[in-house]
C-alpha cells in the first residue's frame, strides 16, 4: 500500500481518486487489485498531465534535449583539458539529474512523467542515430538504463511536495 501511495503521489494522481482506492482497499481487496488500479490511475494521470498540456510538454522535452547538448559543451569547455575521473564521473551523474529536474520544473502538472518522456525521446533518438551499427545498441541500452534512473531522480526532485501521506490503520 505504501508503495502504491508513494507512486500515485509522485505521479500527481488526483487525491480524491487516491482516497477512493484507499477506501476500497480497506474493504479487503487484494494486492493484485491495488497494483492494477494504481497502474490505471497513473496512466490516466500521465495522459491528463502530458497530453492536455502538450505544448508545455513538448517545450520541456525540447528544452531538455537542447540542454543536453549545451551542458555537454559547457562542461567539456570548462573542464578542458581535464574532463577525467572523478570530475568526469560526477558530471556523468549530475547532468541527467539536473536535466531531469529542469524538464520536470518546466512541466509542473506532470514533472516525473515529463522527465520520463524526455529520456525516452533521448534514447529513441540515440538508437535511431546508431541504426546502422547494431553493435552500439547494447551500449546505448546500458547507458540508457543508467540515464533513465538518474533522470528519474531529477524528475522526483522536481515533483512538488504534497501533504504527508496518511495511511489508515
Amino acid at each position: 500500500m505504501k508503495v502504491a501511495l508513494w507512486l500515485m503521489n509522485r505521479f500527481q494522481v488526483d487525491s480524491s481518486l487516491t482516497g477512493d482506492l484507499i477506501e476500497e482497499w480497506a474493504t479487503g481487496r487484494s494486492t493484485k487489485w491495488l497494483l492494477w488500479q494504481t497502474c490505471v490511475a497513473i496512466m490516466s494521470a500521465l495522459w491528463t498531465g502530458l497530453w492536455h498540456h502538450k505544448l508545455r510538454t513538448l517545450g520541456a522535452v525540447a528544452a531538455g534535449l537542447f540542454g543536453w547538448g549545451l551542458l555537454l559543451n559547457a562542461f567539456t569547455y570548462a573542464l578542458s583539458p581535464f574532463p577525467h575521473f572523478p570530475i568526469g564521473l560526477l558530471l556523468f551523474v549530475l547532468r541527467p539529474i539536473v536535466l531531469g529536474w529542469i524538464v520536470g520544473r518546466l512541466q509542473p502538472t506532470q514533472p516525473l512523467g515529463t522527465a520520463l518522456l524526455f529520456i525516452a525521446v533521448f534514447i529513441s533518438v540515440a538508437l535511431w542515430n546508431s541504426r546502422h551499427s547494431p553493435a552500439a545498441y547494447g551500449v546505448i541500452l546500458l547507458l540508457g538504463s543508467w540515464l533513465t534512473l538518474t533522470t528519474i531522480v531529477g524528475g522526483l526532485l522536481a515533483t512538488r511536495k504534497r501533504n504527508s501521506i496518511l495511511i489508515p490503520g
Binding site: L5, V13, D14, S15, S16, L17, T18, G19, D20, L21, I22, E23, E24, A26, W36, Q37, V40, A41, I42, M43, S44, A45, W47, T48, N163, I165, L166, I167, P168
Partner: protein
Amino acid sequence: MHPSLSDSELLILLALVRLAPNAYGVPIAREIAERGKRNFALGRVYSVLERLEKKGLVRSELGEATAERGGRAKRFFHITARGLREIRATRESLIRMWDGVPQLEGGKA
C-alpha cells in the same frame, strides 16, 4: 445534432443519475459492476468523468477529508441539465434504431 456519448460515458452518466446526490468514484464503479456487469478501474472512471466535466455534462464538488480515506476528500459528481438531455437523446436514438428489427427481438440468436 447531439454529440454522441460513448458506451463508457453513457454508463457513467446513468450511474450518476441513479446514485444522486452521493455519487463519487467508489459507488459509481460498484454500480456499473453490479448493475451494468462491467468492470471499470477507478482511474478509468475518473478519466471519463473528467472528459464529461469538460463537455459540461457533469459538475463536481469536493466533500470533506476523512481519516479512513487517508485524509483525502471525496469528489462528488452531479449530472447537469445538459447531461440529462444527452442521456435522453441517446436513449431515443437507440430506441429508434432498435424498433422494428426482428433479429433484435427475443433472447435467442
